[in-house]
Subunit: 304 residues, 2 copies
């Protein structure tokens, strides 16, 4: 069974640096890929890492600053050249469609697939996507422009049936799916076999939250409570607290405070200002508050 993973393509902020491209990451969960933000160079990083994107169907854009969406047109254009046929769904604020459509019409007139826009309201915490195995919720953030993060939640997997019990009770194949979903089994003699005797619980569903860009905001704490992994921006260190407030970004310490308050299992920081050449200082600042902090790095895969 494949685990969930996060591939960071870029975790820089508005100005790219030698190390960091602007924001983009791929969440792989339940054999699907979700692209979160798509800064300039996203498709380049995918190429550099050899990421195959055939299971990528949905893109989520946090807000309409260039470092979070300038890579879309290039990505879509290249998907066209690679003869992608599956629809590509883009979940973003409605303005994005207005901005992208003329570009698509000009540069990608004969796309072999459909680009489907889904407008999201960044001010609301609500379910914005759902399929058989995953749910995605918006997380209103506090930034200079309307902006939201995303909470990805696996739906519970089917329980594992105990093979010996199938044999012992002669359970017909057609009953198995329902039992995996929690039903009891009634034998031909009318005896009720409790589901608890037939199955064992499956893996606990994973939860991942992406919160960028945002000033310190405790309002998100209940939403990201206990997630397996929180990606939280840490544009600045405490030495630039004033600037972080002016620009509505967070410091590394603040990201860690949120992680601690929300009791998350793991914090990945990113969206570093280009001014910090030694990012380990950001990591240390965060780890003083929340020990299980990991330094986000471009072209790196993290287990969730």
């Amino acid at each position: 069974m494949q685990n969930a993973s996060l591939t960071i393509l870029g975790c820089g902020s508005s100005l790219p640096t030698r190390k960091n491209f602007p924001s983009a990451q791929i969440l792989e969960i339940r054999d699907k890929q979700f692209l979160i933000d798509c800064g300039e160079g996203t498709q380049i990083r995918m190429r550099q890492m050899g990421v195959k994107t055939n299971r990528l169907g949905h893109v989520f854009i946090s807000h309409l600053h260039g470092d979070h969406c300038f890579g879309l047109i290039g990505l879509i254009s290249s998907f066209g050249m690679l003869n992608r046929t599956a629809d590509l769904h883009i979940h973003a604020q409605a303005d994005l469609e207005k901005i992208l459509e003329p570009q698509l019409a000009y540069f990608c007139a004969e796309l072999p697939f459909k680009v489907v826009f889904h407008a999201i309201n960044p001010r609301k915490h609500e379910l914005i996507f759902e399929d058989r195995s995953v749910q995605v919720f918006s997380i209103p953030l506090k930034h200079r422009v309307p902006c939201c993060g995303f909470l990805f939640e696996e739906k519970p997997r089917d329980r594992h049936i105990i093979r010996e019990m199938i044999d012992f009770y002669n359970i017909p194949t057609w009953r198995i799916p329902k039992i995996k979903q929690g039903e009891d089994f009634i034998t031909e003699e009318g005896e009720v076999i409790s589901n608890a005797d037939l199955t064992i619980s499956s893996e606990v569903p994973k939860r991942f939250a992406y919160c960028s860009d945002t000033a310190y905001s405790e309002k998100i704490v209940p939403i990201v409570q206990g997630v397996d992994c929180l990606y939280h921006e840490a544009t600045f260190m405490e030495d630039e607290l004033l600037r972080s407030k002016q620009t509505q970004h967070s410091t590394a310490r603040q990201a860690a405070e949120i992680a601690k308050l929300a009791n998350v299992k793991k914090l990945i920081i990113g969206h570093y200002s280009a001014r910090y050449s030694n990012q380990n200082e950001l990591l240390r600042e965060a780890q003083l508050v929340f020990e299980n902090t990991i330094l986000g790095e471009d072209m790196t895969v993290y287990e969730i």
Copy 2:
């Protein structure tokens, strides 16, 4: 005295690869920088190479395929964040302004500098830019969409005055500029001193031509005749001759044929299809026809 140089930021084609970003290069000549094409990631490559762009005033876009212009919005946006104040001039087909303006209005509403569009007609060979020391001409190319290359020509520099002659003839300072431009000097006694006795010739003006994207076209030969350096696309090798014709690109051999016919001093090839993992094969194919061929590579500086 600084020589002319070409910095290749990206010399890939439509699909980026591990090695190659899409098209972008900077010509430095007479202490000025000219950006030629601006594919996605141009600003990233600048950062990776530590290129300072304070002498960059003019951008030339060959045609409106994404791999030649998707990097513009990110570049301009970042220039804004870096508080650039000097106007940025973009020379491109008129459609580019229509496509970029809405993006600039949305993402770069408060730019501290002006973006000035200059429409060029890619079907004509004509002077499209001129300042004190450089002229730029369009070169009509043969591609699936209207497309032109660019010929950069240094204007002749002033002649070098021979210092001893200034002393010998007691030449007043105010006469010197004219003498450098070729005037004779008349002494107080009315003696005419020929300019040839007072000065020596300066460096021969440099000429650089950029021809991408284009099918094989001998029409460009008279225009690029004898240039110091020709950058010519070589998307394919001869094994893909048919495909090169269908897509209106050149093979490495064809690029070399043009270089040979035009008797250029040096050929740099680029715009490689992603299919060629060993680009030295393209180089070898070209060198069989034109020996002084150089393999264009990302993040490399070439003397002109």
